[in-house]
């Protein structure tokens, strides 16, 4: 009964390729997030969607494009992968029934370790 799941868990690819990471939550939450954790373990938010609508878009290269087909899924597509994209990508979700509420805990997925060669 995984609450927030991500696939794949590991992804090794060559520079220049295009890849996608999928995230699904079965908690009934309205808001989903993508975070990047670099080699020094620093975690930074990339995107947030509330009920399929983009609400947070940090300074992220436009090679990264999130897609939310429904509120239970938030996928991350990355074009033209670069060495610096190597990191662990975490998906998260929170209840937040209306955009702007912030008192709900975020629950994290297991992470996807992306290695770009």
């Amino acid at each position: 009964d995984t609450a927030v799941s991500q696939t794949p868990k590991y992804l090794v690819t060559q520079m220049g390729n295009d890849k996608s990471i999928k995230c699904e939550q079965n908690l009934g939450h309205d808001t989903m997030y993508w975070y990047k954790q670099d080699s020094k373990k620093f975690l930074k938010i990339m995107f947030s969607y509330n009920n399929k609508e983009l609400i947070i878009n940090e300074t992220v290269p436009n090679r990264f494009s999130p897609k939310s087909p429904d509120k239970a899924h938030l996928n991350l597509h990355i074009n033209s992968l670069e060495l610096g994209d190597s990191a662990v990508y975490f998906c998260a979700s929170s209840q937040d029934r209306t955009s702007g509420r912030s008192t709900d805990t975020q629950y994290f997925g297991p992470g996807t370790r992306l290695t770009v060669l």
Binding site: Y33, L43, R101, S102, F108
Partner: protein
């Protein structure tokens, strides 16, 4: 803009020692505060959180944290650590009305048996 600083990057303790990890934040308004733990090879799990009310918050596995508003701090404590507490600990904050969660750089705790 919100920011979080964790002063201890690496902490090494023996089992049964007491633990205190520092966390200070910078934000002009009301905040929500969190401590997450990441065990080796695993995802982030919530240890405890503060939204309002009693500034001394108790979490899972014997952890607690105290919100001191005047010091902009939310330090994590445990009276007696165990080997299984070896992990990375992250403090995080979001301002009321904002969903963006800002993390500190993390503290790596190593507990030797």
């Amino acid at each position: 803009a919100q920011s979080v600083s964790q002063h201890n990057h690496h902490v090494i303790l023996s089992e049964a020692a007491s633990l205190e990890l520092g966390c200070n934040y910078s934000y002009g308004g009301t905040v929500n505060l969190f401590w997450y733990v990441q065990y080796p090879g695993q995802h982030l799990q919530l240890l405890l959180k503060y939204f309002s009310g009693d500034p001394l918050v108790k979490g899972i596995k014997g952890f607690e944290a105290e919100f001191i508003k005047s010091k902009f701090s939310f330090n994590l404590r445990k009276p007696s650590v165990q080997w299984s507490d070896t992990a990375e600990y992250f403090c995080a904050v979001n301002g009321r009305g904002f969903q963006k969660l800002v993390f500190g750089t993390g503290t790596r705790l190593l507990v030797s048996p």
